[in-house]
Subunit: 144 residues, 2 copies
């Protein structure tokens, strides 16, 4: 399961994608519209900014806005940033690898195989899910 932090991040980014190139958006506005605790959201947006996914403008009239195009931000990178590994086991994680203590020998462990497949399928789907596509999908669903 994704953490609330991660879900908040995704929702906030979709919101900002909808306001792409319309100037900085206040934390308060996003918090209110998406029902996210403001102070928590503040920390999340800061992290997204440090990761160069968002830009910010300080002071009066400031706020947050997308650094990259909505087509260039995908769910895989957001989740990795917020929650860490996407793989279900540390020993099959590409970005957060750790050896499993229970396995005596990783090379002969028959369990990893399935989790490698899950990892690759998951990365493929999430990597292809951009803010752009999510927005388009919302429009399609809203039109029904």
């Amino acid at each position: 399961m994704l953490s609330k932090k991660c879900k908040y991040a995704i929702h906030a980014l979709v919101y900002l994608a909808e306001k792409y190139q319309q100037g900085p958006v206040h934390i308060s506005e996003i918090a209110q519209k998406r029902h996210i605790p403001k102070k928590f959201l503040e920390a999340i947006l800061l992290e997204l900014r440090n990761a160069k996914i968002l830009h910010s403008k300080k002071g009066k009239g400031g706020g947050y806005y997308l650094h990259q195009k909505p087509a260039d931000v995908n769910l895989m990178e957001i989740i990795r940033l917020m929650d860490g590994a996407i793989a279900l086991l540390p020993c099959v994680s590409l970005n957060y690898y750790e050896a499993c203590e229970e396995c005596r020998n990783e090379k002969t462990c028959g369990i990893r195989d399935a989790f490698i497949k899950v990892r690759d399928e998951t990365l493929s789907i999430l990597g292809g899910s951009t803010l752009d596509k999510i927005m388009k999908r919302e429009k399609v669903l809203a039109a029904k």
Copy 2:
């Protein structure tokens, strides 16, 4: 990420699959061979037994053994039992569904789509991963 509890369960079940139809196996033996804290493992095996995945024999000469054939136990059911939902969002979970608070309208939420795909692919892979296949895989890898 799977919990340790879940990883322990999988390893214990693979161990018991290797001893299928060879009589009850002591908790202590599994704990020692797979480096799992004994008391923790005890609780896990009890849960697997209550779920009819394992059988047990009490008293002297007792222990645990598989209730079903290794070909009939798969990773999907083990993970669901130990960790709950396999889906990454509660609002796309088949067995542990909950509405997302952030979404105003689930029907028009563009985010769910990708997570439904991830869920289906994951269930397909884990559902097809039986103890039997894991054992066979270990033999193949060990022969290399």
